[in-house]
């Protein structure tokens, strides 16, 4: 298992002008979570133009389905992406999950509406807000998310207290 290079993956996607929102554990980490994550989750816009950019951008990283049996033929191209929705990939830079929609929020536009722009690695990237993460995690209803929900609620409260009152 090679560690995922979060910084390189996000910069690579941004440089490829892919429309995406950072979600999941990396988004939580950016907001102050203390939970370590081993993959990068992004929600991508499912227009043909964007999917084309996504495929061209990821092609040099040799994306393949994570956990797929050896020898299984997988071609990461526009048709494959448009025929599917969510992809759990392994790339030369590490694990990358591409989500066409997010539970509790919906498709890209809804996720983008629940995002804010954060300065990351000298760039401006769309990152889902803590409120958005909470909606998604509550909707997913997974036991493993219970601690994450409690932590995010605490972070939200701490950040709200930090904000200057007008």
């Amino acid at each position: 298992m090679n560690p995922t290079d979060v910084e390189a993956i996000l910069i690579h996607l941004d440089a490829g002008q892919v429309e995406f929102v950072v979600i999941g554990g990396v988004a939580a980490l950016a907001h102050g979570s203390a939970r370590v994550t081993f993959d990068v989750d992004v929600c991508y816009r499912r227009t043909r133009e964007n999917v084309d950019r996504l495929c061209k951008t990821l092609d040099p990283l040799k994306p393949n389905l994570r956990g797929a049996p050896e020898g299984l033929l997988f071609k990461f191209d526009v048709n494959t992406v448009l025929s599917g929705l969510n992809f759990t990939l392994v790339t030369d830079l590490g694990d990358l999950d591409l989500l066409g929609e997010v539970a509790g929020l919906g498709e890209y536009d809804a996720v983008e509406n629940a995002a804010e722009i954060l300065p990351l690695y000298g760039r401006s990237m769309k990152v889902i807000t803590i409120e958005g993460l909470l909606k998604a995690k509550r909707a997913a209803g997974r036991r493993k998310d219970q601690e994450a929900i409690v932590e995010l609620e605490a972070l939200l409260e701490m950040q709200q207290k930090q904000k200057p009152t007008t």
Partner: protein
């Protein structure tokens, strides 16, 4: 009526208090909030990389142990 017989509702716990009760180490959150989002990601990545390296070392040691048996 005796005022003392009326139970006073317990004040609602804050999210931070609930997190502490749940077992979340809030000191880590306080520490993280001192950093910028990029610094938080870089710190998280560093921890993740050292955990992967640690797991690799444990796997290597286990293999060695098995082969010595």
């Amino acid at each position: 009526m005796d005022d003392q017989s009326i139970p006073t509702p317990a004040p609602e716990k804050s999210a931070v208090e609930r997190a502490i009760e749940f077992g979340v180490d809030v000191t880590l959150l306080i520490e993280n909030l001192r950093y910028s989002p990029t610094e938080r990601l870089r710190r998280g990545e560093k921890i993740m990389k050292s955990m992967v390296a640690f797991k690799r070392e444990v796997d290597r040691a286990r293999k060695l142990q098995t082969s010595e048996k």
